[in-house]
Symmetry: C2
Subunit: 340 residues, 2 copies
DNA sequence: AGCAACCTAGACAACGTTGTCTCACCGGGG
DNA sequence: CCCCGGTGAGACAACGTTGTCTAGGTTGCT
């Protein structure tokens, strides 16, 4: 049961062959006597020998073919899509991805990075922790390729993949204005978050460009939960202070929808980040969608290129977002169906 | 840049200390001269030395503290929740989880298992592939603990964690009957799938128990996509053949909802498997929910216990499902709100 | 004071694999 | 017949780490 697994030596002995010949066979060398090869294959089958990659990888210059990924929560659809996309590219290149969740805990984040380095991963893809996104990368001497996704770090010279948060918000806000809204409210989370700052910046580009000078009174950045967002939107509805809502993240969007339901009437709405339920609701919710799969692909290809010795040229890569209009941006709901 | 990372030897030389003393320090031995310990700590800091776990783990009897997980798709919320839950338990025990997606591809499934064994994981948690769920486990000689989740395999002696598919469906069907439905339709995917067979069995327990003898005419097991499910439900609605719908998986539930929308009227509905949008729709969709987190927890604890030498007693573990009633099971919709 | 028991440091071999190198062999050309 | 180049097999050391064992020092007891 708990017997020591067979080694190359065992195979070599069983096949009456030199150890190195087994090594060559296992590594797919072509110049092997077919007779010996057959004996080796038989011995491997008989012993159920498995190549020990951990042992093979300790040789200097020999890579582990492992890539590490540190995200906040694998159960979050945004991150699981990212991980899936990275995994796909890695596996195409013969690499295995190790995805770790840190729960936005700065300490655990560091622990996971250390553990992955200890496992001798060939490269690291990291979403910086929400609080204190910089410290972990600041002093570190990176002997392996590092790519940072979703949020930037201050440490210089690190490959960074970002979504165009500002541009997406700009497009969404412009659409709401185009639909006739003079007073577009911005509902979002704390400005400590890079993405929130960017999204607010995009919003302001439009609002200030149109000289509406309402941004300050209509900007709410304390909505950490859907309920808080809901309360804010509810009070806007009651006092009739806004003509449209831009919800700067998922939770704010859900909160706005709840407020609409509670108040019994709605405002034009666009949210940042797509979500599964968005097209199923009535009206279907328009969103600024990030191309998470593409972000993952670029991150993976960057880290793999670097791991294979090629130095990627671009240091910071900003991927476009897409404005997905489904109906909720309009003043009036046209259809009567309550489900798409 | 691509310099060889420092080894314990380098640390020992820098600290003017024996190699083994560094090993003891790194492994947290207590009986070390504080003076030497301080010198070692300094040297580690100066060289940015990282413990090489791959090298450490090649010693026989020394474990890699790695657990492998093979699922079909990390981006699927069901599996990402499972992975997250397993990851949590693993990390509590100091283990790292390697989650791999096989895309329901039998060949890739085998490849991933082989690769994980080659990495010398201490244990393996596997969701058998949809097609041909048995072959991969049949002849294999498992030197490491193996736990199978979600679908059973025929090979004997393998720890198995399942949800109570039949029981959950039984409860849901009974509820629909209790609400007054004489003709409950069963919409689901192919009976090649274990879960479908189980769910249908649960459905039949109620339908045949109530002697309605309608199961055959109201059982549809060819709905592979939401569209196909939608077509089936649409035709049931048009011909007024059913009083209620049991949708045996997510896609069938979505399909039924689309059919309701297209037809302009609905039937009482309960679906198997919860989904994010379910509570947001109107009426909120009632479902049979699996406790995926608990399945992951049990699977992880089983494999970890086995990896640590304890033989778990139970071989097959069936976890209860939960009937979540949100409104869609009723004949009439009471509320008027279109969003929870 | 003398001796035993204990403790820590480090030398050494081993882990399973691969890189290097040597040797044996085979065929062909001089 | 001999030599030479080419090919494939295996002996050997090395990779970075840990288990074992010994040496030496210190403490405590008689």
């Amino acid at each position: 049961m708990q017997a020591r697994p067979p080694t190359m030596n065992d195979v070599a002995a069983t096949a009456s062959v030199g150890l190195k010949t087994v090594s060559r066979f296992v590594n797919g060398a072509t110049n092997i006597d077919p007779v010996l090869a057959a004996r080796i294959a038989l011995a491997i089958e008989a012993l159920d020998y498995r190549h020990n990659l951990a042992a093979a990888s300790i040789r200097p210059g020999r890579s582990s073919k492992l890539i590490g990924l540190v995200i906040s929560d694998l159960a979050n659809p945004y991150y699981s899509s990212l991980a899936r996309s990275i995994e796909r590219v890695c596996s195409e290149h013969g690499y295995l991805l190790m995805s770790m969740s840190c729960d936005e805990d700065t300490e655990r984040h560091q622990l996971l990075i250390d553990r992955l380095i200890a496992q001798r991963v060939d490269g690291l893809i990291v979403v910086p922790p929400r609080d204190d996104p910089n410290a972990w990368a600041d002093g570190a001497r990176w002997r392996i390729p590092l790519v940072v996704v979703d949020r930037p770090v201050t440490a210089p010279g690190i490959h960074t993949i970002l979504a165009d948060n500002a541009g997406g918000t700009e497009a969404a806000t412009a659409e709401l204005v185009r639909q006739g809204a003079a007073r577009v409210a911005f509902i979002g989370d704390s400005l400590k978050l890079y993405t929130m700052r960017e999204r607010l910046a995009g919003y302001r580009r439009i609002i200030e460009h149109d000289d509406l000078r309402l941004s300050a009174r209509l900007t709410f950045t304390g909505a950490h939960t859907a309920d808080q967002a809901s309360d804010i939107v509810l009070s806007l509805l009651e006092k009739n202070l806004a003509d449209a809502i831009f919800a700067a993240n998922n939770r704010s969007t859900i909160g706005a929808l709840r407020a609409f339901a509670r108040a019994g009437h709605r405002l034009p709405l666009i949210g940042f980040d797509d979500f599964e339920a968005a097209p199923l609701l009535n009206p279907a919710v328009s969103v600024v969608a990030q191309d998470v799969a593409e972000m993952g692909r670029v991150a993976a290809e960057t880290v793999l290129a670097a791991a294979q010795g090629l130095a990627p040229l671009v240091e910071t890569h900003v991927l476009p977002t897409r404005l997905v209009l489904r109906g909720s941006e309009a003043k009036e709901i046209s259809g009567t169906e309550w489900l798409e």
